[in-house]
Symmetry: D2
Subunit: 342 residues, 4 copies
């Protein structure tokens, strides 16, 4: 059975990545692409790498008829996303890739994002889209909120450790190295090739990065008490990839065993043999997440390293994985493409 | 029907690319991987990006039993390739990705490659693997010689123009810009990141590059007279991609129309609208080739630009395309993955 | 004797490069930095790599007093530059890095740049700033027009060959590979790291690139007849560098000897031994230009390859070299820093 | 007064960087270059970016006469370095850039480097070359051991904090991001452009990296008790740069004030305003080190970030700085070149 798919926000990188993935999905068909700023243009102009596909031209949101659509991906910036989604038909299945429905508490949303939430009722419908931990709710959901790419990485590394209580919740550091496509297609000076290539820097330091809102929400829920981690992202001169180095207090072998056990049946989450370190090279363009665990010379300290492709498993791949669940497809359908290397 | 596939030379980039493509091929199953230098190792160690696949460990050639193999890809360096292939069972369907069987005339082979050909009888069996121009022979062949990646690009740009006699055969220049994976996984100083990134240079200048052997053979055959082009490759700091800028004497609109007409039904070859220039960004990781044509302010001069991914359409993708023909599969089977961008 | 230097347009890359060079110039002192869009800001914020220098804050042009300034560099976009320079004091020595005073004929300027020239009288004062060919005029000039970076590269490769009449003026092709800083610090989608890194493409094809205005002007003047070359620039994923591959009809040994003879006493122009190919790696961050010559297998064809750093020898280094002449300093003063590698 | 300089190990990156710096040093003259593996070759062939300099050809060590040499830089791999240096004339001033004389305790050396120290007597003469902390000893030394690039970065960030006792010595984490030139010019698969560009990974995890030997030695000496930090290096796809993110327990304002006070008169060490994060972009190719301090949302935690160019301040720049002290030159002589950006 072919499912008819719409994408709102099709002129950004996560929109293009959705199309890339769906291009070889056996049962999804893209029937509508929306991008107000580039409405009327053919995709061959906006993303020439997709020119071989028989795609509809970009439309304005106001010109769109959602009847007949089985599922709509919404890949808009946060704040815009809640405005748009709250106006969409209430029967429509939606996967939102923005931050707007990730935070259950509207006050926490406002704290991290700076703007009040204008659709708190819609928020109540939203299911948090970290597939491997919310499968059943996602399968039944009308609205799924895709996670942040950084927060997905950190959660895959830490959730089982918090659940099993094998690490100290007071001393968790995530030092994250993020590729640039995570910043989107926006025209900002620091994203220019000349400014970015051949160098790197931290940003959002000091516990100010918005993905902390998700970490706080999820980790505190698991631990049953407030958990505050330290999180420092760094911008790396590469296009795709997230690598998070986690410094935790816990017995290395226990940490490894807990993660291994948690994910041993997961199709996309791989815990490497103890002592092996993962690389973003080995997941690029794919929906896989690799996690490695090592000890340190200081007893009782563990280092957990997770990698994924921010655009795929961190965003659009996760979204398709969730769409498969929502539409009754096999969860891995369309998502088993191998990483691209070199 | 599932075809059982072997790959000899599985520890190099074209070997890995074959596996990447076949990973999502509906009817190919990899049952044997050979790499003498790394025999005994699991692929998860040699190419960790392929660790999610259920692949056999690497074997030594001498330990291999080819009965039951439907097709064998051979991704060895030239010279080694002819030694190995001449010893393989004569019933075995083979696609060679090296240069060893591309040149029909053993003397021409020796001239360009420096070593005498040791398997001239096997050479006689070989069909030149430029799929779009040799489909029928490839479908019936036992041994197919994959083309050079540079020469494939140049031929897609020029063959129809020579056939239609719309350009001057005495004044053809191909200025080529090649990404580094074309040089393979060899340990050479000039391929180190420190030596290569952030700079670029010509190499093999002055009509000395080996792919000229293929250009001479093919273009002269089409034109019915000796055709010698000028060809200068440049090494560019990127991992995948070939871009060839062709300077020819011919009427731009005729040049464009000829190419457009030649390829209008081809699934993988796209001639862009007149005046549009292609980019390697838009074919990366895919089996597509884009060709653009523009005029020049000097009347009677045309500029033809072709791009492809050297590892995919330029090598392993072409090989799978040929394998599909040889095994009775749809020619595009397993090859319709969209390019990866960014 | 210390010369007091002003820079207008100090927030762009060529402005920053002027400051980088002048930082170790023994006799130049920067006393004024102008950048209207960022006026009031300290340079440590606009270009943090210059924070160790004791630089004045950025000023608005209207707030500036030019008395006491010995020389003013103007690193503004074209069109703006002529508006500003025509309003500056008539006694002020100026080096303009824009395109506005490079083209002697205002009609030719308008043809290539699309806007009429508003300061044709000032234009008449301007000396073309290709140092090695206009030393005497530059030394006496009040206003020097820095050349285009692409056109400087091409001229160093071709001027002596045209003067000596050793190549055919009807068949000259320059295939140019340009790093991205040449496009400046403008916020354009195609200059984003995500869009540019790992891929490359031609642009300004078909004889439309503005630097052709300079080539036409200069080459026709040398040859004493209209000379039209073919020129195709390509955008390469690197920050600094120009490499031009020149295809000419002429005897290789004569071509090499002519260039070698022309430049053998030049401090910044090096003609490599015959058959050696230059690399942008080897001139990065320096004021040097390397030129290599090889033959082709087709008799009577020569390949000339030139490389330079577009920001240094192609722009700000050339400007300082000219300033040295205009202020009576040694021509190489402040310009002998070695290239940076890797 | 001109000092005559020899460089042993001139065919590697730190050797080339020494030459790049000395090229514009007013009082240093290179009179001898040694590189056994490439003896007899001109530098224009080994490092074409240095071809404009009038350098001696590379020599074999055995052919060299050290009389008349004022100072010798030794840029060999560790283990080889101690073998060579122990055979050099005892009167010769030497700066060793290898690891061989950094560790005062031969047993600790053997533990970290795997081989016994063969020149323990020579070791006793060696002064640790972290200029800003050992100026007086360096000025009087015959043999100075250049520090590791990573350990220099970490020490600049942490020494004043340990001296002032403003951080907890039991909880210090350095998460380091290293560019690839730090790995040298060795032919290793993981250093190939195809393997490295567009991805990143940790290495030497778990407290195994050799630079911990220096951290342990120096930090324990300052604290007057054993101090063991956690240190995880990551390989980043860039050629030059070190960025270390330090996670410490200490009051942010105190941490910043302590560092600011310690370095306020240092020409090469800059502590940025509180809350500002440094970037490797802003020190590339220069001898400067930038340090930033921020707080965290968790009270009592500070984040200290340090950046430098591994080849310059991290190695060859430090060496020239030390040479200036040893030869009575101004400490900054030849070292004030501005960073190169972009």
């Amino acid at each position: 059975m072919i499912h008819k798919i719409a994408i709102i926000g099709a002129s950004g990188y996560t929109g293009a990545e959705l199309i890339r993935i769906i291009a070889t999905h056996p049962n999804f068909q893209i029937v509508m692409l929306v991008a107000n700023s580039k409405a009327g243009k053919p995709m061959a102009e906006v993303f020439p790498h997709l020119r071989h596909l028989n795609l509809p031209n970009l439309s304005k949101l106001e010109d769109v008829d959602f009847s007949g659509i089985d599922l709509c991906f919404c890949a808009l910036p946060h704040k815009t996303s809640q405005e748009v989604i709250s106006q969409l038909p209430k029967y429509l299945k939606i996967i939102d890739l923005s931050a707007d429905f990730r935070i259950r508490d509207p006050k926490a949303y406002e704290k991290w994002y700076g703007n009040p939430h204008i659709a708190p009722e819609t928020q109540k419908e939203a299911v948090y889209g970290l597939t491997e931990f919310f499968r059943d709710e996602i399968a039944k959901a009308r609205l799924v909120a895709g996670t942040g790419c950084n927060s997905a990485t950190g959660q895959f590394m830490l959730r089982p450790l918090l659940s099993a209580d094998v690490i100290d919740t007071n001393d968790i550091i995530l030092d994250m190295k993020c590729a640039v496509s995570g910043a989107g297609r926006a025209l900002k000076e620091n994203l220019l090739h000349s400014e970015l290539s051949e160098g790197y820097n931290a940003y959002g330091v000091g516990g100010t990065h918005r993905h902390l809102g998700e970490f706080d929400q999820e980790f505190s829920a698991i631990a049953g008490k407030p958990v505050k981690i330290q999180f420092t992202p760094h911008l790396i001169p590469a296009n795709r990839g997230i690598l998070a180095t986690g410094y935790v207090h816990g017995i290395p072998k226990d940490v490894h065993a807990t993660l291994y056990e948690a994910y041993k049946d997961e199709p996309f989450l791989t815990v490497l043999p103890f002592g092996t370190t993962p690389s973003t090279h080995h997941v690029r363009g794919s929906n896989f997440c690799h996690i490695g665990v090592t000890g340190d010379r200081i007893e009782g300290r563990s280092i957990v390293i997770g990698v994924m492709d921010n655009l795929t498993k961190g965003s659009s791949g996760q979204a398709v994985q969730n769409a498969n669940l929502m539409l009754g497809e096999d969860e891995t359908s369309g998502l088993l493409m191998a990483p691209i290397f070199p």
